[in-house]
Amino acid sequence: DAGVTQSPTHLIKTRGQHVTLRCSPISGHKSVSWYQQVLGQGPQFIFQYYEKEERGRGNFPDRFSARQFPNYSSELNVNALLLGDSALYLCASSGQGSSYNEQFFGPGTRLTVL
């Protein structure tokens, strides 16, 4: 069975641009969470979606938004990119809607903002 997949693997953008990152959860999982991991730090929670509804939001500015589609895949959008947005963006899926359930992570998208 396929695990969590994310695309693209790597991305280079310039300041002020917009980016869309994509995630496909494990088949049968209805919850998707997004995390930002800056180099040398632990992951920071951005959003959680369950059954296409937002279930949680971390301390990120409104430039960050996300949505979940009927097939439970998800997109993370970041507008007006800043240098500080350079990070590894991780997606995790879970069979349940709570963050305390076991989550399965994808390999991440490495975003570099120049």
Binding site: Q41, G42, P43, F45, R57, L88, S99, F105
Partner: protein, 117 residues
């Protein structure tokens, strides 16, 4: 406020040695979950264990063991007879219960473990 502290930034040990990774947490809540995740060079986090605050039994899984002590707010992770494949960054994490809309899992900064052949 919740906080997870992994004071060891980086550890190097020779293969077959035992190694313990420390995790100290802070939370005002009496009910919470603690986690350990492994992040190999490939990037994805791999779930290792989840422990709820009411279960202080130590757990052993093969060469891995975990020591949870509420009295010292610690949840330490020991690898026995380490192997090169154990080289990775290890994260400790915490989430309070009941989890609601604004609750989020908090990760420590991680400990980079090098197992030298």
């Amino acid at each position: 406020a919740q906080k997870v502290t992994q004071a060891q930034t980086e550890i190097s040990v020779v293969e077959k040695e035992d190694v313990t990774l420390d995790c100290v947490y802070e939370t005002r809540d009496t009910t919470y979950y603690l986690f350990w995740y492994k992040q190999p060079p490939s990037g994805e986090l791999v779930f290792l264990i989840r422990r709820n605050s009411f279960d202080e039994q130590n757990e052993i899984s093969g060469r891995y063991s975990w020591n949870f002590q509420k009295s010292t707010s610690s949840f330490n992770f020991t690898i026995t007879a380490s192997q090169v494949v154990d080289s990775a960054v290890y994260f400790c994490a915490l989430i309070q219960l009941p989890a609601n809309r604004d609750d989020k899992i908090i990760f420590g900064k991680g400990t980079r473990l090098h197992i030298l052949p």
